[in-house]
């Protein structure tokens, strides 16, 4: 009797998990499958596997939406912003986590206050500054704002450095290493775990950001992926095949990275959610 109950219970659990599993996965799978069909087949037969397998949609999306350029733009912007954020986070985290100096608490409270400003609220003031500096339609506008968003990174690195034993750093100092030497040669190499966490969090944030690029950039040649997708959608609204191909192209990098670095992704994004 007990055993039958157990089997039933497990069957019920699997059934519920499976329903959610299909609801979560199916739209994404559907997007990939249909991106390989011609548009007429998507419309007449949206649920089947492709009978006419084609990469035409990808070619159209790549050429018309200028995806090569868009990818290059996004990756370049991401690389510069991410490096800056990592450097700022590493330095700030080390200072707040390991050093003693006058005004430390005061400076740290400022940092805390800044973390409470949602990006939506700073959008208007940031726009005014960027416009005043004449940086509208310039990548520098986004880079500056992204550097300013390193608050969360500093936070994570601070707690990370606090867990690094002080003895290691002291030993290096006594052996005649300079303060900056201790930081660059000892502390930074020890911080790889923390840096991975924030790199992943900011990768997802920067790759997917929409509001800031939409507000700051103007010319088509400077489009990042999010703007390129909406622009493409607005023009090719009926060309579902190409649209789905464009969506698939944009989602592939995060999805592939996610399946390779699943543990780090989950850690990075939950940490980001809790502190950011």
């Amino acid at each position: 009797m007990y055993k039958v109950g157990r089997v039933l219970k497990h069957a019920l659990i699997y059934f519920i998990l499976l329903v959610v599993f299909v609801l979560v996965l199916y739209p994404v799978i559907w997007m990939f499958i249909n991106s390989l069909k011609p548009t007429w087949e998507i419309l007449t037969n949206p649920f089947s596997l492709p009978t006419t397998f084609t990469l035409e949609n990808y070619i159209t999306a790549w050429n018309i939406a200028n995806f090569g350029r868009v990818f290059l733009n996004t990756v370049g912007l991401l690389a510069i912003s991410l490096s800056g954020i990592l450097i700022i986070s590493c330095m700030g985290g080390y200072v707040f986590g390991k050093l003693e100096f006058p005004g430390k608490n005061f400076l740290f409270y400022f940092w805390l206050a800044g973390m409470m400003v949602p990006p939506h609220v700073s959008l208007i003031p940031n726009f005014v500054i960027i416009d005043y500096l004449g940086l509208i339609d310039n990548y520098l506008s986004l880079i500056l704002v992204y550097f300013g968003s390193a608050t969360f990174g500093v936070f994570v690195m601070r707690s990370f450095f606090m867990s690094v034993p002080t003895e290691i750093l002291e030993a290096a100092l006594i052996d005649g290493c300079s303060e900056s030497g201790v930081f660059w040669r000892i502390a930074v190499p020890l911080a790889k775990g923390g840096l991975t966490t924030i790199a992943i969090f900011y990768f997802v944030f920067l790759w997917n950001d929409y509001m800031y690029p939409m507000t700051f950039l103007r010319s088509d040649s400077k489009n990042t992926i999010s703007i390129a997708l909406t622009a493409f959608r607005d023009v090719y609204i009926t060309n579902w095949g190409s649209l789905l191909a464009a969506l698939s192209l944009a989602s592939l990098p995060p999805i592939i990275f996610y399946f390779i670095f699943q543990r780090q992704f989950i850690r990075g994004l939950t940490a980001g959610a809790l502190k950011g």
Partner: protein, 309 residues
């Protein structure tokens, strides 16, 4: 924490060495503050100051002091109240649905049956997708004429062909559902971490005492993950207050303001109508709401975070 001070005592050159070390600490902070002060910290002051001016943007010479005009306008603007109400609805419904769903699935996954590791990995996947992709994709799936859902309804022989995003009665709820689809995985993993922190012998002891699943949920799980739940609720609340991308991509606040929320109202007023002062006033309201929730978060999150790490 004391290591620099300790080191300086050893070398017996306290004053000069200390200044040198302080200078090193400050110099490491300079790059961070260089961007943080103008683009984050200043925003808090700027958004409130700008709420009191009348300005069409672009040229500073056209700024006029408007006193409380923007706030009077806010109070008399039916669309503002509508968007505030939609934001509150969004928070209430999504927080309840998402928290309950995430906890329920976390408990099921924590039974450690085969394949659950794989399943939970898939559940997290939408979290890494961009809201723009999700918005366009679901905009198509729910498109009234050529969408998949209505095609499915037709195949099933249903006469009803809802307009989904075009229907003011449905649109907001549909966007809430899509938000939950994208974000429940994150809440679920926070719950999983909270559940894994519960000592296993508690469950064993309860079973020995003859407790059934409901007793265990009611008397062990729920009291012990109270702090985790608070963290999830606050996190979801903040995210829902900020909802923008998905609505902007899918409906731009329409049809007939049916999906207008504070963030979209702020954006349209500022950047489409050029009312920088009025937009800032809406942003101030948004900031105050987020601020209140963040302060609550700071108060309760310490214990909650300990449950995670």
């Amino acid at each position: 924490m004391q290591f620099i001070k300790f080191a300086s005592k050893k070398k017996k050159q306290t004053t000069t060495l200390q200044t040198k070390q302080n200078r090193f600490a400050y110099s490491l902070l300079v790059p961070g503050y260089l961007f943080f002060i103008p683009f984050r910290l200043l925003s808090i002051i700027a958004i409130f100051v700008m709420s009191f001016v009348s300005w069409k943007g672009y040229s500073f010479s056209t700024i006029k002091w408007a006193g409380l005009d923007n706030f009077t306008r806010l109070i008399n603007d039916p669309i503002f109240w509508k968007s505030l109400w939609h934001t509150i609805q969004f928070v209430l419904i999504v927080v309840v649905v998402q928290t309950v769903l995430a906890l329920f699935l976390a408990i099921l996954l924590e039974q450690h049956l085969p394949l659950t590791k794989f399943i939970r990995g898939i559940y997290f996947m939408p979290t890494v997708l961009s809201l723009v992709v999700v918005g366009i994709l679901f905009g198509y799936i729910f498109s009234p004429s050529s969408g998949v859902v209505n095609a499915l309804l037709r195949t099933l022989g249903s006469e009803i062909q809802p307009h989904w995003l075009g229907d003011p009665k449905i649109a907001l709820y549909l966007i809430m559902a899509i938000t939950t689809w994208k974000e429940f995985g994150l809440a679920m993993f926070i719950f999983i971490a909270g559940l894994e922190a519960i000592p296993l012998d508690l469950f064993d002891a309860a079973k020995v005492d003859g407790a059934n699943s409901w007793n265990i949920l009611r008397n062990i799980i729920l009291p012990l993950i109270k702090e985790t739940t608070t963290v999830v609720v606050i996190l979801t609340t903040v995210n829902c207050l900020k909802v923008f991308d998905l609505i902007w991509v899918m409906t731009k606040g329409g049809p007939f303001y049916a999906t207008e929320v504070l963030a979209t109202r702020m954006y349209t007023q500022t950047f489409n109508h050029g009312n920088f002062g009025y937009g800032s006033a809406i942003a101030s309201v948004l900031f105050i709401l987020t601020f209140v929730v963040s302060v609550i978060q700071m108060k309760v999150s310490r214990s909650g975070k300990e449950a995670i790490y």
